[in-house]
């Protein structure tokens, strides 16, 4: 999922301080799971902002709503009828949701409420780690399910570099060497002879370095 972290309240206050009618809009998917932008976080932020503005002597209208997602037209349309009540929206969705909101409701300033960080998984509650960098050409079949593009500091594709020491990466003692993990995993799977096969040059044009990307499926388009 997309892992995000809450923005400091001071930063959000700075974003909205000149507005009078604010909608705090949460998202029920990834940001709920990483406890950054779900219904609970919307409630906490709204309460904190209400109290902040009251303390400043201003009665600011701050409403709360959480949509199922903010990256699909159907869900964003659900608030079409109420948007004229607000002069700004703080969206606690990931960067995708904030932008989609801004495209759809272009007359209303949409401010981000979270910092979107990476694609990752919940190792345990309160700890989310990066796993995927969306390179657009998945090679996990060859690496026993461990990604050298996201987990190797050098993103190399044919085994560890000279800096791999005791299974750790040279840039950080606590960081596992991805290729050590891959070799151990391939051994456990009985596939170590596949490790000897050279990986071809990766087509990096499907990666972000090639510019903003899209996926087109004409077979499902109307």
């Amino acid at each position: 999922m997309i892992v995000a972290d809450r923005k400091p309240i001071e930063e959000i206050i700075e974003e909205v301080k000149d507005h009078e009618k604010i909608l705090i809009l949460g998202c029920n998917e990834c940001v709920t799971v990483c406890e950054a932008g779900g219904k609970k976080e919307v409630g906490v932020l709204a309460s904190a902002l209400r109290m902040y503005f009251l303390n400043q002597g201003r009665e600011v209208k701050i409403d709360e709503k959480t949509l199922e997602r903010q990256c699909d037209h159907e869900y964003l349309e659900e608030i079409r009828d109420v948007m004229d009540q607000y002069d700004s929206v703080v969206s606690l969705a990931c960067g995708v949701g904030v932008q989609f909101m801004a495209e759809k409701y272009h007359d209303c300033p949409i401010y981000p409420g979270v910092d979107t960080c990476f694609l990752g998984a919940t190792e345990k509650r309160g700890l989310w780690t990066e796993r995927c960098q969306a390179c657009g050409q998945c090679i996990l079949a060859r690496t026993g399910g461990i990604c050298p593009v996201s987990r190797c500091a050098k993103r190399i594709l044919n085994g560890p570099c000279g800096g791999s020491t005791n299974g750790k990466c040279e840039i950080n003692k606590e960081l596992d060497c991805a290729w050590q993990l891959i070799i151990d995993r391939l051994k456990a799977l009985g596939k170590i002879d596949e490790y000897e096969k050279l990986s071809p040059l990766k087509d990096w044009s499907t990666e972000r370095a090639g510019g903003p990307r899209k996926v087109v499926r004409e077979d499902v388009q109307e």
Partner: protein
């Protein structure tokens, strides 16, 4: 034993039931102080409810500091359910702390607006 009359007690089966939002909404509605009284650490009837309560009180304290209400207005206490005099002592201590801090600034702001 006696404890100050201006304390409203809300019973919960375990302090683990208390949510950060309960604390924040109490202040939003004008409470001058909020404190949670839970079991001794290690003795929670439900294992870890009182640990969760402590973490949530600390979260609320951080938020209250940032928005200018003051984190000292929210506190967590631990005692055994049989320690009546200690309960009274916490109540007195909390009441003194809140009296020194003064009323919730939001209450005054709301009065001015009205």
């Amino acid at each position: 034993m006696q404890y100050p009359p201006d304390i409203k007690i809300i019973l919960v089966p375990c302090t683990g039931k208390i949510d950060v939002l309960h604390i924040l909404h109490a202040f939003e509605k004008g409470a001058d102080g909020v404190y949670a009284v839970g079991c001794m650490e290690g003795d929670c009837h439900y294992n870890s409810g009182n640990f969760r309560a402590r973490k949530r009180v600390e979260q609320a304290q951080k938020i209250l500091d940032i928005i200018g209400i003051g984190g000292e207005r929210a506190q967590m206490y631990n005692l055994s359910s049989s320690e009546g005099p200690r309960f009274a002592q916490f109540a007195v201590e909390m009441e003194e702390r809140i009296r020194k801090l003064g009323p919730n600034p939001i209450k005054l702001a709301k009065k001015k607006a009205a």
